[in-house]
Amino acid sequence: MNSAASSRVAPLRDFSDRLSPMVVKELRHGLRTRFFTSALILFHWLLIMLLGSTMVGVSTEQVNELFWILSLIAMLGAVPIRGFTALASELDSNTLDMLTLTSISSFRIVWGKWTALFSQSLLLMCSLLPYIVARYQFGGVEILREIIGLIFLLLGSALATAAFVGFSSQTTRLVRGMLVVALSAGLLPLGVFVNVFVNESGGDSMLRSFLALPIWQMALFVIGFLGVTTYGVYFFLALGASMIAPPSENHSTVKRLVSFTALLSLLMLGLFLTTAVSSDAGFWAFAPLMILTLLNGMDLLTESLPKLPTVVLPIVKQKKLPTRLLGSFLYPGWCSGVFLYLVLAVMPMTLLTVMTGVRRGSFDDEFFSVMACFLIAPLVPVCVRVNRKDYFVNWWAVTMIQVGLGILMAVFCGATGSRDLAGIGMFTPITTLFGAAIGSSRSSGVLGAGVGISLIWAGAAIALAIREWPRIRELEAEAELMLLREKNAASPAPSPLSS
């Protein structure tokens, strides 16, 4: 026996047992690395310099604008983008297998990563409060707008961090690059909105309009906003969890049920706002409904087909429910994803139909066709396989190819001046949109024909899903066999004395 064996190590009691192990790990890691501390000190040094610049004659407007630009970069850029290494680092260091063998679920792994980063955003936001008060003392600051702006920033940071963490399991460089561009493009409007809200007169009128609303409408707006953000965070984290989950686990069914409920709630909210307030009010529900439907499309249509019966077992077990019907929408894999996506895609189109019906003229047929093209576009990569190993990579590759073709077509038409050629873009939904944009005088014709042709893509995706379905049936049969075995094992063996 080694003498060291008799010595004791000082037990670790820095974090409570109630905290998730993953959160504890990430917080310990975060506290030990110098990156966050150094970045925080640098950030505050810049802010102090900025406040100090008012002493040397820099206008408060300029200071306010720079303050918010720095805050936006920190909260929507610097902190969330660190999430992009969250799962990739586990994959690179070969530690994900170890985590799989513990009782930590894939979702808790992703949740832990997000919580650690979001707590840094929270810390950063709290550290901004004294500067807001100080600037208020200097004048030129409306404190309510600034606080609301900060809350927007925090929620945006939560969403952006979740998106970066969720997608961080992607190791293909090209896809990672595209995701950074896509997420940055998605965050830019939010940054612009927050900046306008706190610094421009438009923000002031927006706030006044909001405060003039009846209390129930204000409450509905706030609940809706928080609800969409919460769902968005959940969606991205669940997406990340399903990407790293072992093939025996089903992370898809719950995610699909939550998504269906969230989108249905948003549809109901939109319908209520459209009928009770106005179609303009309904647009506040339509926009997120549309974005979330497309995001769900990207997820649902890129899931690998299940290979193990354990993933279909939870649904097969539900004997009282129409199992096979439910499974058509809720089993993991792109096959059932096609069917569920079509159901989800009906929701924004329904809301749009009601909105246009309530106030005819506010939305025209072209807008309807454009939205239809957007909703059909995610189905094209189901039919075109340029990467047979990874459906997610394939989805992005095919989508980018469509965008590239659209750009080429636009350049060609622009260079030759032959806008009539824009009609050739009708072969896919995305190129249809480019074609409609180029041939503006005939856009409704191009769009109408494009939607018609796009429906063929949808039909082809359904046909492919039906063709693959026997594989799901095999898993169902195996799962039923598992249930039978369980039943046999649970029932007591017949007594040899019984006749």
């Binding site: 026996m1 080694n2 060291a4 064996a5 010595s7 004791r8 190590v9 037990p11 670790l12 047992d17 192990p21 993953m22 504890v24 790990k25 310990r28 890691h29 030990r32 690395t33 260091s93 070969n94 530690t95 297998d97 170890m98 985590l99 799989t100 063998l101 513990t102 009782s103 930590i104 072992p246 093939p247 025996s248 290979k307 193990l308 019966p309 354990t310 598992m482 075995r485 369980e486 039943k487 046999n488 094992a489 649970a490």
Partner: protein, 348 residues
């Protein structure tokens, strides 16, 4: 290092009425590559089994499937009576997994590393503290508690990996190349730890390239090649099996060794391999013990002053290489039948 393995109240109960590990016609392909192609074997409780095969033979894939980290395309595998595909969670509670490539975390000490995994395995409060201490004592990691987990030697890292695998006191251990890259001292330490675990009744499936060590540690060995089991048995059987019909002996005589050389030239079934200072190295064209004994008897009867007659032990490495050669030539017979498999229909 403690001479007994630590036991935990967290340890999952195991059904000992069924073999610890059963693999039946397991298949797994990656594209066109058939990594595992109909592997079958079974391991009884408390046995230490070596898994031998060249790189790419299918060892790691088989072990990963057993550890529920990969899934088979066909066939069946069960650990502790639980099908690894149908009941992965139950399997995970029973087994400890040591991968060939073990990852640690930056900015995390050995103690924090074990604390994290202990939390992840459901240990709470004082029980967690006690369990970590036990595992650190067993693997001799206590002096390294505050060392960064990614700044340790390969041997220390492997001990940490073993410590993590033992936290929940698994009854079955699957170790993929645990001795790879270790210096001789670290290898001896690891071997000692494995021996202690084996003596306490744990079932261990261990793959290694260091066949001589496997021979010493293991109750039996499984040879895998191109995704299929080509031989199994204990180390002695393995040394004999697949070998060519010959025995190498070193003979020393008193006085002039030329007498021995002359005798060999006239002897049947014996050939001179090389002359030595006090004797010679000979090859007897048989591995039959009666014939070998007959050669020695004839030497003595013919008046040779034999002072040492040493039969060279055939190394496992030689046996392995011979076996691969015979597989390439297609002259290796089918492996002996496996023990009967008896996985009952079970819900657990």
């Amino acid at each position: 290092m403690h001479m007994t393995a630590p036991h935990s109240s967290h340890a999952a109960e195991i059904d000992r009425s069924q073999p610890a590990i059963v693999v039946d016609n397991l298949r797994r392909s990656f594209g066109d590559l058939r990594a595992v192609n109909g592997v079958s074997f079974s391991i009884e409780h408390g046995k230490v089994v070596g898994f031998v095969g060249a790189n790419g033979a299918g060892k790691t894939t088989t072990m990963r499937i057993l550890a529920t980290l990969d899934h088979p395309d066909g066939g069946r595998a069960s650990v502790g009576g639980h099908n690894v595909v149908h009941y992965p969670t139950k399997v995970r509670r029973l087994l400890g997994w040591m991968p060939d490539a073990f990852g640690t975390y930056d900015h995390m000490t050995v103690l924090e590393y074990l604390d994290f995994y202990a939390r992840a395995l459901g240990f709470k409060g004082e029980e967690r503290v006690r369990r970590i201490q036990e595992v650190m004592d067993f693997t001799d990691l206590t002096p390294l508690a505050d060392r960064m987990s990614n700044k340790m030697s390969k041997g220390q890292t492997q001990r940490l990996c073993l410590g993590r695998a033992l936290l929940h006191d698994p009854q079955i251990l699957i170790m993929d190349e645990p001795a790879a890259g270790l210096d001789p001292r670290a290898r001896v330490e690891l071997k000692q730890l494995i021996r202690i675990l084996a003596s306490e009744g744990k079932t261990i499936l261990i793959s290694s390239h260091i066949l001589s060590e496997l021979g010493e540690m293991c109750d039996s060995l499984l040879f895998i090649d191109k995704g299929a089991i080509v031989h199994h048995g204990d180390a002695d059987t393995m040394r004999r099996s697949g070998s060519v019909e010959e025995t190498l002996v070193t003979v020393q005589v008193s006085g002039d060794p030329a007498k021995l050389v002359e005798w060999v030239l006239t002897a049947q079934n014996v050939k001179l391999l090389e002359e030595a200072r006090h004797g010679a190295r000979l090859r007897i064209d048989s591995n039959d013990e009666q014939i070998i004994a007959g050669v020695l008897k004839r030497m003595i009867l013919d008046g040779l002053p034999v002072i040492d007659f040493h039969r060279e032990e055939r190394r496992l490495e030689d046996a392995f290489i011979d076996m691969l050669g015979q597989i390439d030539k297609g002259t290796l017979g089918t492996p002996p039948p496996l023990p009967p498999q008896s996985e009952k229909l079970s819900s657990s």
